[in-house]
């Protein structure tokens, strides 16, 4: 085991120990902080509820991701297809991305109800921008000669987009997906916290109302882990696809 990893491991263990003892010694009250053991107890007690809730939330997340991916890539490919298009769409997309999307959720609740649809809609909007912007940039950041070559050998516009631009943009698309996936996961769960009858977010909120602190922390911990794992997984995917590109750029 390398030195930095060892240090980090020690730090993590130390944090856990301090965390546990802070609660043991009641330095921070039970209504504010849950110790690792309390979180463990909550898990042992409530894991069936969490599992059921997670299944519901997972469906919403996957649906939102899929739609965000399709929409984002399509818009990104079109927005990046010519220099002029990207000069027009780029700033528009980036400016829109600054909008606090959470403020649109109440509107979504009016339009789509309090069920899964509004969560999916919110998830889609959350994940859309990073994917679209990254796709667009992915196409922009290479030589226009690829498009010229495609035309010279007789590719139709659709073929150019699908067989040349899309593979070229793929590493960037995955990067955008990596950024977007955390936004979608947390977005969906937060939306559930704001108004929902089911799902992890709803579970977290109801446990908070019941002052079951251990379960609240557990729910948040699970959500964070979910986002981090997704991020890690996509990072690995991104590295896999970026290999040929990095090499190419350095030549």
């Amino acid at each position: 085991m390398s030195r930095p990893t060892l240090v980090r491991l020690i730090v993590i263990v130390a944090i856990l120990v301090v965390w546990e003892s802070v609660r043991e010694l009641n330095l921070i009250g039970p209504l504010l902080l849950a110790s690792p053991s309390e979180i463990g107890a909550a898990f042992a007690k409530s894991w069936p509820q969490f599992l059921t809730a997670f299944q519901i939330t997972l469906v919403e997340i996957v649906a939102a991701l899929a739609i965000a991916l399709v929409l984002g890539v399509s818009v990104g490919l079109i927005a990046g297809s010519t220099v002029f298009m990207s000069m027009v769409s780029g700033p528009l997309l980036v400016s829109l991305f600054a909008v606090p999307l959470v403020t649109w959720y109440p509107l979504f609740m009016v339009w789509f109800g309090i069920g899964g649809a509004s969560k999916i809609a919110y998830g889609v909007v959350s994940g859309f921008f990073p994917v679209a912007i990254n796709t667009m940039n992915g196409i922009r950041n290479f030589d226009q000669q690829y498009v010229m070559y495609g035309r010279a050998i007789g590719c139709s516009p659709l073929q150019i987009v699908a067989r040349i631009l899309f593979p070229l943009a793929l590493p960037s698309i995955i990067a955008g997906l990596r950024i977007g996936v955390a936004l979608v996961i947390i977005g969906v769960i937060v939306a559930e916290m704001l108004g929902s009858l089911r799902g992890i977010g709803y579970l977290i909120t109801s446990y908070r109302n019941l002052y079951e602190i251990g379960s609240v922390y557990l729910g948040i911990l699970l959500s964070v882990l979910c986002a981090l794992l997704a991020n890690l997984g996509l990072s690995a995917l991104e590295r896999h696809f970026t290999r040929w590109r990095e090499m190419q750029m350095t030549q």
Partner: protein, 263 residues
Amino acid sequence: MYFVASQSMLKARVIITQIAVIVAILAAWESAVDAHWIAADILPPPSTVMVTLGGLLRSMDFLANAGDTLVRVLAAFAIGAPLALLVGFIMGENITIGKSFSPIFNLVLAVPQSIFLPIFALVFGLGFTEKLMFGITHVFFVVAVSTMAAVHQVSHAHVIAARSFGATRLRIWLSIYLPAMAPHVITGLRVGMIFNIIGILLAEMYASQSGLGMLLLRWSESYEVNQLMAATIFISVVTILINEAMRLWEAGVGRWQSARMAE
């Protein structure tokens, strides 16, 4: 290969196209509702939105709530930003501290902080403090990390050169550190402000007696679509304006950067 008379011609074409796109969308929206393709009580047309917004901006209730939100946003920024600048600077200058703590900061930034709201509600209750603290953390981490990166941007060679000329610490700070760091720090501040706004509004939506977020949720529950739409668009537009203003500042400060990068 493209022949363009000048950069400004191209820029003008771009801006005109962008405006045209926005106008086209608004026009399509207006006529879609006009032609009853979309019900006005689900998606109010731009004309109704403008009228409603006008009314809201004259209503004391709305202004009071907007004021509350503004106070929270500014307070959180006023506390969080300087603190983060200081911490970020220390982390940038001191390698040990930087290496020890930056992984934690980066980990926090890897996950949208919205998820931690229930914890803030538990620890701080549901009042002003909770929202303030929530906003502060939103500002803090991103500004600290940006500032740390900004410090790393400062050219060591320049600092050494300046010292060899006998420049005082203050001088070095003003003429080398500040210009090199400024663009990155401002970027951090800009993103921090955006995160801050998101955080405060979310906290207000979650549980609050006052504020724009609270209004949004209230109108959503009572199906007052006109007000909801007007307020949502208002918030979006204001945030975009803040973002663009800070971006202009960022760009202005960073103008010399590209020349420097070419070294």
